[in-house]
């Protein structure tokens, strides 16, 4: 039997590492741009993104996946947390590391915060019903893992890659080339760092503390695993009270003294099964669920807990709802304010990626996992802090100071796991207007310095910015009907300190007309050699 268990464990380790590394690969895949081809298949198995597609788009496959995941959890328990959750696997890696460093304190912890976790979980998921995704995006383990990869691993790896590339290039080899690094956002990184600290400091003392006290996905699966068919059991006749199982339990959910296992916290790492000195722990059908007299008390207790949980979370939702209403009112007020100083503030409204369709769609589905930030070839997509407002923290925007959006590229729409950026074709993208170009003659170099420039028109993919004669020179003239809002003009405008041409964001993307071709014709010379 033990042999069988160690095979299962081996399978878990190999499977989870492979899957985890494939997610890391998605984020780090800046060389061959393959992320777009694989993202869908790999991230489909993430709970929160599939749930979002399930709730907001009612897509068939995510529905089947989420339901079958819950179903499997009802049979086997929280295998998701050890097999598929990137943050979980990352913690497992750190547990291994901590064990080597002997700083891990693994002992049974009573389950004090589980109620809090359930309340949080209910609040987080019911806030989705109010189109409010921020709580989920802050605490969803996939999104946290993405932020960790995006804010720390990518900048570090790109930096190292670049140093190596420059060195190798200096030796006259060019098989490694430097890469543009992602735009670092201090607050986004700080938030990830704090969460990282919470997760990994508590990890040393309480094992998978985050998974069993805060994580919303863990909350759902933990609740489901309470009723699972199979459970881990300590058989008291075999147990030697050697405490090895408890020592190696990642979730600190084994109480060897009382021979009990809190299965709702178990992440199915199978360690206890292997490290048990006898065959004292078994993974078996929980058929004796109601037969023991002891358990009656447990059930009534858990029923009270359940009621408590419901009450607390209902209160939470009400408070949240009030909060949302207040925010809506405030936003309205702010809007009125905005109209008074439209010139200044309009340009501050961030631009959202093509395929996001509207701020409404984008901000209700984005869990800010930063995959689009990582895979954007020009790195024009950057993480934000509160630029979209305090209820839309961390969702990425397009920053035209840093780069511009390529006319023939739809990578962000291909990688987005939640369809916050919907799948679009290149043809569709070229008809989407992210914002409208605005030309301010008073800052333009042609006007102020009396020299030719035309950088904006040069870079415009649709010639929405065209040069017209002006004082013997050429001045930009904009046709915002065919502008796609890619930001090339804004990015390259050399006027300082204020750019003379900017893109003003649309909250709802508009349709850009197809570029016209009625410019002044200047045909070629018919002679074979005109000289």
């Amino acid at each position: 039997m033990k042999n069988f268990y160690s095979k299962i464990k081996l399978f878990r380790v190999i499977f989870s590492l492979t899957y985890f590394l494939s997610i890391v690969f998605l984020f780090l895949e800046f060389k061959f741009k393959l992320a777009a081809n694989f993202a869908d298949y790999i991230l489909f198995f993430q709970f929160a993104p599939s749930l979002i597609k399930f709730i907001f788009d009612a897509s068939l496959l995510p529905i089947i996946y989420v339901l079958s995941l819950l179903f499997l959890t009802l049979i086997f328990g929280r295998f998701y947390c050890s097999f598929l959750c990137p943050l979980g696997v990352l913690q497992d890696i750190f547990i291994k590391l901590f064990q080597k460093l002997k700083i891990l304190k693994q002992k049974f912890q009573s389950n004090k915060l589980q109620k809090l976790q359930y309340v949080l979980t209910i609040i987080i998921f019911s806030s989705l019903a109010f189109n409010f995704i921020l709580p989920l995006s802050l605490f969803d383990p996939y999104s946290i893992a993405g932020k960790l990869l995006g804010n720390f691993l990518i900048p570090l790896v790109v930096y190292i890659n670049n140093e190596i590339a420059y060195f190798i290039n200096s030796l006259d080899f060019y098989f490694i080339s430097p890469e543009k690094n992602i735009h670092f956002n201090f607050y986004s990184a700080l938030f990830s760092l704090i969460l990282f600290a919470i997760v990994f400091v508590t990890l040393a003392f309480y094992g998978r503390f985050y998974c069993n006290s805060i994580c919303p996905v863990g909350g759902i699966l933990s609740f489901a695993s309470k009723f699972s068919l199979f459970k881990l059991k300590i058989s008291s006749d075999q147990c030697l009270n050697c405490s090895l199982c408890q020592k190696y339990c990642k979730a600190n959910c084994i109480d060897y003294k009382n021979n009990t296992i809190d299965f709702s916290r178990c992440v199915l790492c199978f360690n206890c099964l292997i490290y048990c000195s006898k065959n004292g722990i078994k993974f078996e059908l929980d058929y004796k669920r109601n037969s023991l007299p002891k358990e009656n008390g447990v059930i009534s207790k858990s029923r009270r807990n359940f009621l408590n949980t419901i009450t607390f979370s209902a209160a939470g939702i009400l408070i949240l709802n009030d909060d949302l209403e207040a925010q809506k009112r405030n936003r309205h007020k702010n809007n009125n304010l905005l109209y008074d100083s439209i010139e200044l503030n309009r340009s501050k409204q961030p631009i959202i990626p093509p395929g996001a369709i509207s701020l409404q769609n984008y901000s209700t589905k984005c869990v800010s996992c930063m995959l689009c930030v990582a895979s954007c070839p020009t790195k024009v997509i950057v993480p934000t802090f509160n630029e979209f407002g305090w209820d839309k923290l961390f969702i990425p925007k397009l920053d035209y100071n840093y780069a511009y959006c390529q006319y023939d590229c739809v990578v962000c729409s291909e990688v987005c796991p939640t369809d916050a950026i919907l799948k679009i074709t290149i043809e569709q993208k070229q008809e989407i207007q992210l914002g409208k170009v605005r030309f301010k003659k008073r800052y333009c170099i042609v006007h102020t310095n009396n020299v030719e420039c035309g950088a904006c028109s040069e870079h415009c993919p649709t010639k929405a910015v065209n040069m017209i004669p002006y004082r013997g020179l050429h001045l930009p003239a904009v046709n915002d009907k065919i502008c796609v809002g890619c930001g090339a003009c804004e990015h390259v405008c050399p006027a300082r300190p204020r750019k003379a041409i900017i893109v003003e964001a649309h909250s709802i993307h508009q349709k850009a007309q197809k570029p016209k071709s009625d410019f002044e014709e200047r045909t070629h010379n018919e002679k074979l050699f005109p000289f």
Binding site: N169, E452, C453, A455, S517, T523, F531
Partner: protein, 302 residues
């Protein structure tokens, strides 16, 4: 083109090609190899180049064994070759090939692109042809590759950060494509230099035309090979659609950057004097000759 013009032109240019031995003594035949400018029409980009370089006396005249060569095409944009926003990949491949065959130690190709460099390198088709022919694609979009140099007699442009390959390579071959340009009127050889400097927006801020002419005095290319197989006659330099492109099937080679640009400009009905940077380069900086009637020009029709 009318058929009569075509035949006339063929006769005019072909007579030299077909009957040199009859008309000219052997001694002047050798001198024939000293053309200031060779123009070819009517073939594929690579075939036109082979014909032209043969007339100039072969690539061996410019590239010696063991030398390093940097080829600077225009790879500014993330568009396919049919859009004619980037130099024709076949031409770039052919240039790399003849350099390697002539014994060049290494042939580097790079551009400080406008669009994303990896996408531009690969979608222009240039990366593929260069690698096939044994050349090396080098990134140009990172400041580390650039070092600051002084520009001799620069009026507006006194310093510029230049790509190390331009500074270190023995031979510099400039391979622009002939295109309309919204502010510089046309972009050909001299304007192609904007892809070997780091801060080209300094040029935009400080009189584009003067800066282009100023920089041309810094390092004159050993050869300017202008790709006009497809030329963009409007909406340049990026172009909006294939409607902006005319198939000229032409190629110009010259060491004289001003002459090369002037000749190419005429294909698109521009007079050289109309284009300020050509005028400045010729008149103020004396970098070359825009009066094409004073040049020894070889005209070839394939």
């Amino acid at each position: 083109m009318k058929r009569r013009d075509f035949i006339k032109a063929i006769l005019a240019s072909g007579s030299e090609l077909f009957f040199p031995n009859l008309i000219l003594p052997k001694k002047t035949l050798a001198n024939n190899k000293n053309y200031d400018l060779v123009a070819v029409r009517g073939g594929n980009p690579d075939a036109m180049f082979y014909a032209a370089i043969k007339e100039l006396g072969g690539i061996e005249k410019y590239v010696r064994k063991g030398q390093t060569v940097v080829v600077k095409p225009n790879i500014g944009w993330d568009v396919p070759p049919e859009r004619a926003a980037n130099t024709n990949p076949l031409l770039v491949g052919a240039i790399v090939k003849v350099c390697i065959d002539a014994g060049a130690k290494k042939v580097y190709v790079f551009d400080n692109t406008c669009d994303n460099w990896q996408r531009a390198y690969s979608n222009s088709g240039i990366e593929r042809t260069v690698k096939q022919n044994g050349g090396e694609m080098v990134p140009g979009n990172f400041e580390r590759y650039y070092s600051e140099v002084e520009i001799p007699n620069g009026v507006k442009l006194k310093k510029a950060k230049v790509h190390e390959l331009i500074l270190n390579s023995d031979v510099f071959i400039n391979v622009p494509i002939l295109k309309h340009h919204s502010s510089a009127r046309l972009t050909i050889s001299m304007k192609n230099h904007m892809g070997i400097v780091w801060d080209r927006f300094y040029w935009h801020r400080n009189d584009l035309h003067q800066c282009i002419a100023d920089f041309s005095a810094y390092r004159k290319p050993d050869l300017n090979i202008i790709d006009a197989y497809r030329a963009m006659h409007r909406n340049g330099p990026r172009g909006v659609s294939e409607a902006d492109v005319i198939e000229l099937k032409a190629l110009i080679i010259s060491q004289d950057i001003v002459a090369a640009d002037s000749a190419a400009a005429k294909f698109l009905n521009y007079e050289p004097q109309e284009i300020p940077y050509i005028k400045i380069a010729a008149e103020q900086k004396k970098l070359g000759n825009y009066d094409l009637s004073k040049l020894r020009i070889k005209r070839i029709v394939l």
